[in-house]
């Protein structure tokens, strides 16, 4: 016998139905948010001062964390490739594979994930707090569109800044590999640099920068979206922050796979 408190087949179906409907509602809301955001990025007025402020916050302030991550990743990559490559006499490939790995994958993905943790959370917390303290309503009453004033500058700034951060990450990451390669693994400095430069192609760098632009857009979009729809005071803002980081990170990894498939599959 099913009692009222138990999970009857009808209750079970109702729960599934509610989850599916909530998922569709979320997708619809996100699609509408994305459309509004993109339109406000394209259509004037654009606020250059706000975009510049956000570029400093997203890009310049993220340099230490991205630089350190790239440096140690480049060093570890050189060590691992040297150790793995020595099993079949391929130690000489260290510089080439470090350059390839950093520019194509590790530079953009690790920079994206680090910035997602730092920036997406900050955006969600800031906009979420503005939502629960009625500052977003105040913007509307002062004839200012929140998408234009809050969302568009962050999206544009992240879209432009992430590729610049990845250029720095690529350079520092390759330098990390170079320092480990020449100081610990006994590579000749000139040969290491020559192998790196000779092996890298335009598509390696371009693919990383294209990915990072998409990652930047995802990071800002998730931060803004979760902040914009946060509810319920401090707890709601905390939830929005967590959701922003988790969804941005997952979407970055998914987008990385899709873009790698598109760019490198014949």
């Amino acid at each position: 016998m099913w009692n009222n408190g138990g999970l009857s087949p009808l209750n079970f179906l109702a729960v599934i139905g509610q989850v599916v409907l909530a998922a569709f509602a979320d997708v619809g809301r996100l699609s509408q948010f994305l459309y509004n955001s993109v339109m406000h990025c394209i259509l004037p007025p654009i606020y250059p001062r706000l975009i510049f402020e956000q570029m400093v916050r997203i890009g310049y302030n993220s340099l230490p964390v991205v630089g350190l991550t790239a440096f140690f990743t480049g060093g570890v990559l050189a060590l691992q490739i040297f150790i793995g490559g020595s099993r079949f006499n391929a130690e000489s490939l260290v510089s080439s594979i470090v350059a390839l790995g950093i520019t194509r994958e590790l530079g953009p993905v690790l920079a994206g994930l680090m910035v997602a943790g730092r920036v997406s959370a900050a955006i969600a917390a800031e906009i979420g707090t503005m939502r629960v303290t009625e500052q977003i309503d105040a913007l509307v009453t002062l004839s200012t569109n929140p998408f234009k004033y809050l969302v568009a500058p962050r999206l544009i700034a992240a879209l432009v800044t992430l590729p610049l951060l990845v250029v720095v990450a690529d350079t520092i990451g390759i330098m990390g590999g170079y320092i480990v390669g020449t100081r610990s693994l006994g590579f000749n400095s000139g040969v290491y640099i020559k192998n790196t430069v000779d092996f890298i192609e335009f598509i390696d760098i371009f693919s990383g920068l294209a990915k990072s632009a998409v990652f930047g857009f995802i990071i800002a979009l998730m931060g803004c979206y979760h902040g914009f729809y946060s509810r319920g005071g401090a707890q709601g803002v905390g939830r929005a922050t967590t959701n922003a980081v988790v969804t941005a990170s997952i979407l970055i990894l998914a987008a990385n796979y899709v873009m790698t498939s598109l760019l490198f599959t014949e």
């Binding site: 707090t129 009625e134 500052q135 509307v140 009453t141 002062l142 004839s143």
Partner: protein, 258 residues
Amino acid sequence: MSTDRHIVLEDVRKAFGPKHVLNGVTVDVERGKSLVVIGGSGTGKSVMLKCILGLLDPDSGSIKIDDREVVGLRGSDRDAVMAKMGMLFQGAALFDSLTVWENVAFGLIQGKKMNRKDAKEIAIQKLGQVGLGAEVGELSPAELSGGMQKRVGLARAIAADPDIIFFDEPTTGLDPIMGDVINDLIVHTVQELGATTVSITHDMTSARKIADKIAMIYKGEMIWHGDAKDVDESGSDYVEQFIHGSADGPIQMEVLKP
């Protein structure tokens, strides 16, 4: 006369899922007069205000400002209506990232595209109107007390010399003296501007001080509407219970009794 009616709400309804918050609100405000809407928590006061401001769209009904239907207005039409309005939020809702004068001048710079120098002059002047010196303009909102934040919020609400000003619980969270200071400022600045005002409050002292008319909302309906001086002889048990703050009466709070 219809031309005297500045704001007109007719049969405004709003529900959130199964919860019906506004059940056909009908009320109007004469030009240059002050309407105070009283009522308990969760009775629909804030939702009504947000519907008039366009922050929420009502499910049905009509809201007219200056004889123009404003429900569903978007874009430049909405901006034109918003340009006539100012709003003092319950928690002041000052922008943390801006200084006090930038907060006051925000609507002038962003909404009216005024240059920053002229907007700052007006902001300092408006701060003076609410009893704050120019030096306060350079502080950040976090450095202000609750009463000062409310004053800055009031300065921001009147910065663009609006025709209509909304006050959401203007004295909530303030001590009685500061509450009275804010009430005086509201009366004084509104008289100076000749603006129409709509306020929502629980505070009967505040309501008596700033209202020409008082309306009471209960369960999403206007159950009484009249001159402020008549509120003590309303003849409504609901109004009587509310203004005396009594637990006994027709309004029963949904609390679990031991």
